[in-house]
């Protein structure tokens, strides 16, 4: 069984550490916030100018002046702060954010990531993603392993316009957890019931399989 979006988020949440400042991108990454262990104190950074992003508001507490980078209405937690966009990206480029989680259309074994446009078809824009991948030491990409036609999104070389180069360290997909080391992906874990062969067949990039690959264990 491949992992659901929520389960991908749950797997990524294992990387959180007490005291971390974390930026979560739009889509699956946003869901990571739902799996922060109760025993941990972390702060979520939203690049539109918010540190200490809280949960969604109740109907009565909705405030048009308080949104996240996905333009959703949110709240602020105790200890939170507001700041302008230049300060926000000083935090990001300056390496003050401990963990960045973002989505992608493609990643490759040179650590490159493509996430902002499909020429002639789809233009979303890079938003803050180019700054986030350039500034972060610790980047996890959350994505589906293959597109809806079954074609691999884990490539030897990205085909789409790049968001950043040589920056991806870890990728969590619906099928697998992989780490990029020395220009090659290493398979660390596989989704429950998904075989190594299936992962291999859906991975166009070189993939190192070292010994028995454990199944992901979810609480």
């Amino acid at each position: 069984m491949s992992l659901s979006k929520e389960q991908i988020a749950q797997v990524i949440a294992r990387e959180l550490q007490d005291g971390f400042y974390v930026n979560l991108g739009i889509g699956i990454p946003t869901l990571v916030a739902n799996y922060v262990p109760k025993t941990m104190e972390i702060m979520l950074q939203s690049e539109n100018g918010l540190l200490g992003m809280g949960e969604f508001p109740t109907e009565e507490n909705i405030d048009a002046d308080l949104i996240n980078a996905g333009k959703q209405t949110v709240t602020v937690i105790e200890g939170g702060s507001f700041f302008n966009s230049a300060d926000s990206f000083a935090m990001i480029r300056g390496g003050h954010v401990d963990l960045t989680v973002l989505g992608a259309f493609e990643v490759d074994q040179s650590g490159n990531i493509a996430s902002y446009m499909i020429p002639g078809k789809l233009v979303k824009g890079m938003g803050g993603a180019m700054d986030l991948v350039a500034g972060a030491e610790n980047i996890i990409v959350a994505m589906t392993h293959a597109n809806k036609h079954g074609e691999s999104k884990i490539l030897k070389k990205c085909s789409l316009p790049l968001t950043g180069v040589n920056c991806v360290k870890k990728v969590v997909t619906d099928l697998a957890v992989m780490e990029l080391r020395d220009g090659v992906f290493h398979l660390l874990e596989r989704a429950p019931g998904v075989t190594v062969e299936e992962i291999q067949s859906k991975t166009q990039a070189d993939l190192v399989i070292d010994g028995d690959i454990p199944e992901i264990v979810l609480d």
């Binding site: 939203s46 690049e47 949104i67 996240n68 230049a86 803050g128 180019m130």
Partner: protein
């Protein structure tokens, strides 16, 4: 006597001097913190050939979307097209020039414009299409590209929460976003505020934007449309 009193009483006065082919910087992130009335005034004047520098271009029919509808923008410089169908269509068809710029670089190009810094190095976009034609440099093993500041905009359109007549501003929550930098980067900076207060009501310790940057202030009425209304339990 006018002196340092920046308050104007009509949108006519607020946007006096606006002509075709000007460059506008416009504050806001999505629809949050946009100078709604000033944008409406630009739409009403019908000026054409504008270059707009703004993180987003509003949504269909609201915010800068109003200027897109009337084809008033020749060049749009921003970081995110998002779900704006008309923006995407004008971009893909080539009807409007669009210069996509990483959000942090956009903020810094505006900040630098106001701060008298002609250019800066950043790692954002190195090795991507953004870097094409730009000078690169390696510092301590890391690669950077040279990004130039924007020229000062003919008009900087800002939305703030409160102002006094001297043009001192404070912003509210995440409605600050690009507004504080944009306030510094206009040949003429016009600020639309929710409320004008007496000068002694704003604590000098907590001024976000000092009045030196501001030329005109007008009190606006804001719809504050929400793009993604999300509540607990969704």
């Amino acid at each position: 006597m006018k002196g340092l009193n920046k308050i104007v009483n009509s949108y006519e006065e607020a946007m006096e001097g606006l002509t075709d082919n000007m460059t506008l910087m416009v504050g806001g992130f999505g629809l949050c913190g946009i100078p709604e009335g000033l944008i409406q005034k630009v739409a009403d004047t019908g000026v054409k050939g504008l270059t707009c520098i703004s993180n987003n271009a509003g949504v269909d029919g609201f915010g800068l979307g109003k200027l897109l509808e009337k084809r008033q923008i020749a060049t749009m410089i921003g970081s995110y097209v998002g779900e704006n169908k008309l923006f995407e269509q004008l971009f893909l068809s080539g009807e409007m020039e669009v210069i996509l710029t990483p959000q942090g670089t956009l903020a810094e190009k505006i900040r630098a414009a106001g701060a008298g810094i002609p250019a800066f190095y950043t790692a954002s976009g190195f090795g991507t299409d953004i870097a094409i034609g730009k000078e690169t440099k390696n510092y301590n093993g890391k690669d950077y590209i040279l990004e130039e500041a924007f020229p000062k905009a003919d008009f900087a359109l800002v939305k703030a929460w409160k102002a006094d007549r001297y043009g001192n501003l404070i912003f509210k929550k995440t409605a600050a976003n690009f507004n504080p930098m944009i306030a510094t980067a206009g040949k003429i900076t016009v600020v639309e505020v929710e409320e004008i207060v007496e000068p002694n009501e704003l604590d000098p310790n907590f001024i976000h934007t000092p009045g030196i940057y501001v030329d005109r202030i007008i009190v606006g009425k804001f719809e504050k449309r929400i793009e993604q209304r999300t509540v607990k339990g969704n």
